[in-house]
């Protein structure tokens, strides 16, 4: 019964590329259960057809990333909102 997930730290570089800022300290609110957690705390499945980040409390899918030549899809439908620290 191996736990096959990592956490948001594992996709820190990818999320920085996607959002243009460091995201591990950003806070995400789960659209499923309302839990508010740092992106670093999300359960991130990296051995799938794409990357899937889930709420650590209720496993709702918060973020997906599928990479293809010349483009990538970022699914955010499970996230109610993100709070991203500003550095300016």
């Amino acid at each position: 019964m191996s736990e096959t997930y990592l956490d948001g730290n594992a996709i820190g570089g990818l999320l920085w590329e996607v959002f243009g800022v460091e995201m591990t300290v950003a806070t995400g609110v789960c659209g499923g259960c309302g839990a508010s957690r740092a992106v670093a705390e999300l359960h991130v499945y990296v051995r799938a057809a794409g990357i899937v980040a889930r709420c650590p409390s209720c496993d709702t899918v918060l973020l997906t990333v599928v990479e293809a030549p010349g483009r990538r899809w970022v699914g955010l439908s499970g996230l109610a909102r993100l709070e991203i620290p500003r550095t300016d």
Partner: protein, 247 residues
């Protein structure tokens, strides 16, 4: 937050391997020269990218082992079925080039002066970012009370063993547990980290300790939940999970 975060851009840079130091039979530290390196905070990591002659690419993340004021270094463990780690541990030589980007991470970081006390719990190569924290603390002459609980299979698998022995003392306590085999007369722990061990080693829940746990997912989950079970606030525990990460 490290200056690189303030600059806002994460770009691939070409680094040169300056030195390669064997830590254990499976683990090697790579010292890297990166022109224009912006500096980093203890706990952050790098993404490393390798490109084969036909353009095939592989990317992995490795925790920075060095203190912020030292030459940049990462420590890599060779995974038996790994695609990248055997290359980094066995093949790469001083003078070779490596693409990397970073430093990455704003959550699993610690800076001297943040206050404490600090509990650091590492499983196997999970000790690497915790060692960066210990080195940062030593470099700054910071006297924050720190306890490191470090789980390894055998004494030969303990990474940074001599340096930890040297640095321990005063407000830094280093506690080892050896899970697979112990030398004759070993006075320390000889089992996987569990709630009873944490009850003895961790600070008390009211002490206001910050905790950093790093290692495989099962290790991190079991340590974090044991700490919460002992009364530590979940918000005081920060975690970083390691795994073979294919990209």
């Amino acid at each position: 937050m490290a200056r690189a975060a303030v600059l806002g851009r994460l770009t691939w840079q070409l680094a040169t391997v300056a030195d390669a130091v064997a830590e254990t039979a499976e683990v090697r530290t790579l010292v890297l020269d990166v022109p224009g390196w912006p500096g980093h905070l203890a706990g952050q990591h790098l993404d490393v990218r390798l490109t084969a002659e036909d353009g095939y690419r592989a990317e992995r993340s490795y925790s920075i082992a060095s203190a912020p004021g030292d030459r940049l270094a990462i420590t890599v463990q060779r995974l038996a079925d790994g695609e990248v780690s055997p290359y980094l541990v066995d093949e790469l030589r001083p003078g070779d080039e490596l693409e990397l980007r970073g430093p990455i991470g704003g959550y699993f970081v610690w800076e001297p002066g943040r206050g404490g006390p600090l509990l650091l719990v590492g499983g196997g190569s999970g000790v690497v970012p915790l060692m960066a924290m210990i080195r940062a603390r030593a470099e700054a002459g910071d006297e924050t009370p720190v306890r490191l609980l470090y789980s390894s299979r055998t004494l030969d698998d303990v990474i940074y063993r001599e340096e930890l022995e040297r640095l321990a003392g005063g407000a830094l306590e280093v506690v080892h547990t050896l899970t697979r085999a112990r030398p004759d007369g070993w006075p320390g722990y000889g089992r996987r980290v569990d709630a009873a061990m944490l009850a003895e080693v961790a600070w008390r829940p009211g002490d206001g300790a910050a905790t950093f746990v790093c290692g495989s997912t099962p290790f991190v989950e079991s340590v974090a939940s044991a700490l919460v079970g002992l009364g530590h606030a979940p918000a005081s525990i920060r975690t970083e999970r390691y795994g073979g990460v294919p990209r």
